[in-house]
Amino acid sequence: MTRQVRTGLLVVGLLGFGALLVAALLAAPPSGRESHPYGDAASQISVQRQNTPNVISSINFDQRGFDTLGEEFLLFASVLGAIVLLRPTPGDKQVEVSDAPEPLDAVRALGVLLLPVVVLVGFYVVATGHLSIGGGFQGGVILATGIHLLFLAGDYKALRRVRPLPLVDVDDVVGAFGYIVVGLVGVAMGGAFLQNTLPLGTFNTLFSAGTVDLLSVAIGIEVGSGMILLLGEFLEQALGSQSSASSSGAGT
């Protein structure tokens, strides 16, 4: 189709689709309403029965934990897919490993100073996901991007030393599989898959809420490694492929 026909089709489609959508939204209960029965039930169960102050973590890792298993493997599959797609194929020109342009000294200093702080925050967010805001997903992303402060600070070669991709690869699998293992703990203790059968401890302490924290850590490992692998593959692709002796990722 020519560009004009396509744009015309788009306009017609958007008018109809937009009208339907807006009409539906106008018919929906307005934002800010008081009644949220499912949410309130989840909050009550999280706090009173499951001893988990962070209701969102309780939902993600306890009440609706199976969906999180699916999401985790979705992430795993995307990372695996990206690795496979970006793997160097015979015929790609071998580029010398280069660095991005030199950053300012201020950026470099900030990067070096922030790196340990961010990584520590990342670990904290993962570990206390059941207590205050946070959890495996958020913490994993913080960890992964925190490590890349090394790249931002201008030292790509150091980054490559710190995150050997084959090791991160294994970590990714450990995280993914670890979630299943923790789920099976529930079965082992006589309950159902992903049932929270570990001791629930005292409200608001570190070792409480049973399996929620364990699952959060598993997710943190998986998301963190997955993100590192993903960013790593794109960086390798852009800045230079390694020789095949130390090739990266599961796809090679």
């Binding site: 189709m1 396509r6 089709l9 788009l10 017609v12 489609g13 008018l15 109809g16 689709f17 009208a19 339907l20 959508l21 009409a23 539906a24 939204l25 018919a27 929906a28 209960p29 029965p37 499912y38 949410g39 039930a41 009440q63 609706r64 934990g65 199976f66 969906d67 298993l69 699916g70 999401e71 493997f73 979705l74 795993f76 599959a77 995307s78 695996l80 897919g81 990206a82 690795i83 496979v84 797609l85 793997r87 015979p90 015929g91 690869d169 294994v170 990714d172 699998v173 450990v174 993914a176 599989f177 299943i180 079965v187 159902a192 898959f193 992903l194 049932q195 599961a250 796809g251 090679t252």
Partner: protein, 608 residues
């Protein structure tokens, strides 16, 4: 209970393990490991089907994490997620597992892989397909939809050394991402109205009041998103582009498993969620209409193709249209027709894709033009192609033919058999014509066109397989799945118990109050009356023979070059239809938006 969860977790876990250790084990162990996992999943889904059959209500309900619902009957509530397996769901899960097992046998040894990613992604795809079939929660359905989609994008683009796969995979990815956006928006609207994410509670809440524009919009968004996967006009454009470039095993999974599952999911979501407010007669017309249109577009496009995989992809689209007609017949017999047709089609189309893959393996081409006469020595392969082509046309007693007649009768319109016959004749004729040209070498070679020019595989290293070994006569691991698939398609059409089972399964799926009662209140409904569906009567056999006969006639005419005059008169409209399939991702997304708007407009008019 355990079996349901295991059927999903086993392929997931196996995929993870293979990814972890895959780099250090030899190829044969990778093949064995993946095959073992697929076999295990097949056994598990078979056990699941048996468990469902044994259950008096024909359902197996598992509340994950033991979050069983509480509350008085009629108001059961749970914060957790439920897996609710009915006969159709179990059958679809079993179909996926069987196909995956056969396809892994087909890829044994020959298919070039680097690392464990292919096998791992296939297993994750299987897990997604099983989850998609057995879940009773709408958001979980969305997640498994995304899981199957994502693994499918990666697998479609797998042959990275070639130029085209990433394009096909990207259009596939972009259009299905839009579908995912539609579905999530629909789920949000439903959550706003009903404060629930499970199929049963949403259905219960919607049935309590008459439908309004929000319900219609949610219907269009969720069902529209699923219809992208079932490759229905105008959401079907990704199919041929993706299957033209995907590795053969992936084409089989896309065409034969994903499509069927999506059609069943459309039925399931409609019946459990929307049937209480959007009454069946409001969606009957739109669904049947879209199905017919899809069948015709697919049939015409498949005849126009000279790229073998695109030809088969459009044949899939055409048959997918018939599946939707069965769903739109809003009766157990309609769903029976869809199920029988889908199972038969999986066998026939799966076999045909594998056969084309064998041609690719031996001659590095899937162009009808280039392959002209090359297949003369492959008698067995050729014979199986003929069987496949006739099966595609619905030759009795293939399951495809049986499903077609059951669907046509269930939908009730007198002109439907004409459409069904046309679709069968068109798609069958394309395959038979290809057979005559490639395996007999008769007639003039097919014209070379843009798409077939790009169906050459480049140098050895980039090929899907490494090519045949010297002296390799028959590739057994490639042929055995083909034979099994065709035999399966025949058996499905022959066994009477199967079509009655399919009708019963349809009735169970359609029973919204029973579903909600069992899932939420733990009250199993009384077993539904046994359904009886007519099979191969003499009249149906005779009508069923028309399409294959026509297919042969059209194929002969095409090979002989007869009918050029008619072709030139149709040239202009054909060129327009063909031109719409432009390969441009922006075009495809525009059509999705227009399609959703049109569907919305039609349903608003019929329902409100």
């Amino acid at each position: 209970m355990v079996v349901t969860v295991a059927a999903i977790v086993v392929p997931l876990g196996a995929g993870a393990i293979l990814t972890g250790i895959g780099r250090w084990i030899p190829r044969v162990l990778l093949d064995i490991g993946a095959l073992a996992a697929a076999l295990a999943t097949t056994v598990l889904t078979l056990l699941l089907l048996l468990e469902v059959q044994d259950s008096p209500s024909s359902r197996v309900v598992t509340w994950l994490g033991n979050w069983t619902p509480t509350g008085p009957p009629g108001q059961g509530f749970s914060v957790g997620i439920v897996l609710a397996v009915d006969p159709l769901g179990a059958a679809m899960a079993l179909l996926s597992a069987v196909l995956m097992t056969l396809v892994l046998v087909y890829s044994w040894h020959h298919f070039t892989v680097s690392g464990p990613a292919f096998h791992a992604l296939m297993l994750l795809l299987l897990a997604g397909l099983v989850g998609f079939s057995v879940t009773g929660d709408l958001f979980s359905l969305f997640i498994f939809f995304e899981l199957t989609s994502t693994t499918a994008y990666a697998l479609t683009g797998y042959l990275t050394a070639q130029d085209q796969p990433s394009q096909g995979a990207l259009t596939f990815g972009a259009t299905t991402t839009v579908a995912g956006v539609f579905i999530l928006t629909g789920i949000s609207l439903l959550y706003a109205r009903t404060d629930a994410l499970g199929l049963a509670p949403i259905g219960r809440a919607l049935a309590a009041r008459p439908p309004d524009v929000l319900v219609v919009a949610a219907f269009v968004l969720v069902i529209g998103g699923l219809l992208v996967k079932s490759a229905v006009v105008p959401f079907h454009f990704w199919t041929a582009d993706a299957e033209a470039v995907a590795p053969t095993p992936v084409c089989v999974m896309l065409s034969c498993s994903l499509l069927a599952l999506a059609s069943v999911a459309v039925a399931r979501v409609y019946w459990t969620v929307f049937s209480g407010s959007l009454t069946p007669d409001t969606i009957r017309g739109p669904l049947i209409g879209i199905g017919v249109l899809t069948g015709l577009v697919g049939g015409v496009m498949s005849v126009l193709q000279h790229h073998l995989k695109r030809m088969l992809a459009f044949a899939t689209v055409a048959h997918g249209g018939l599946f939707l007609v069965g769903v739109g017949a809003v009766a157990p017999a309609g769903l029976a027709g869809t199920t029988v047709d889908a199972l038969g089609h999986a066998g026939v189309e799966g076999a045909l894709f594998c056969l084309v893959g064998i041609l690719l393996h031996r001659y590095a081409s899937i162009s009808e033009h280039v392959l002209h006469g090359k297949g003369r020595n492959l008698e067995i392969t050729g014979g199986l192609v003929v069987l496949g082509g006739l099966g595609l046309a619905g030759l009795p007693p293939f399951g495809t033919g049986l499903g077609k007649t059951i669907t046509e009768h269930a939908a009730g319109a007198h002109w439907l058999p004409v459409i069904g016959t046309t679709i069968g004749a068109l798609t069958g004729s394309a395959v038979l014509r290809m057979w005559a040209r490639v395996f007999l070498g008769v007639g003039r070679p097919a014209p070379e066109d843009q798409s077939s020019r790009h169906s050459e595989e480049p140098a050895d290293r980039a090929r899907e397989t490494g090519g045949p070994h010297p002296g390799e006569r028959l590739s057994a691991t490639m042929l055995v799945p083909v034979i099994l698939l065709l035999v399966g398609a025949l058996v499905i059409g022959l066994v009477p118990a199967l079509r009655n089972w399919a009708a019963h399964a349809g009735a169970v799926l359609m029973d919204r109050p029973g579903f909600a009662g069992e899932v939420l209140d733990g009250v199993a409904p009384a077993p539904l009356p046994v359904e009886h569906v007519e099979g191969w009567t003499v009249e149906r056999v005779l009508i069923g023979l028309i399409a294959p006969a026509l297919a042969v006639v059209v194929a002969v005419a095409a090979v002989r070059g007869v009918g050029r005059a008619m072709e030139s008169r149709l040239a202009a409209p054909l060129r327009i239809v063909r031109g719409l399939h432009s390969g441009h991702v922006g075009d495809y997304i525009a059509w999705q938006i227009v399609g959703a708007a049109l569907l919305g407009g039609i349903v608003v008019l019929t329902a409100l």
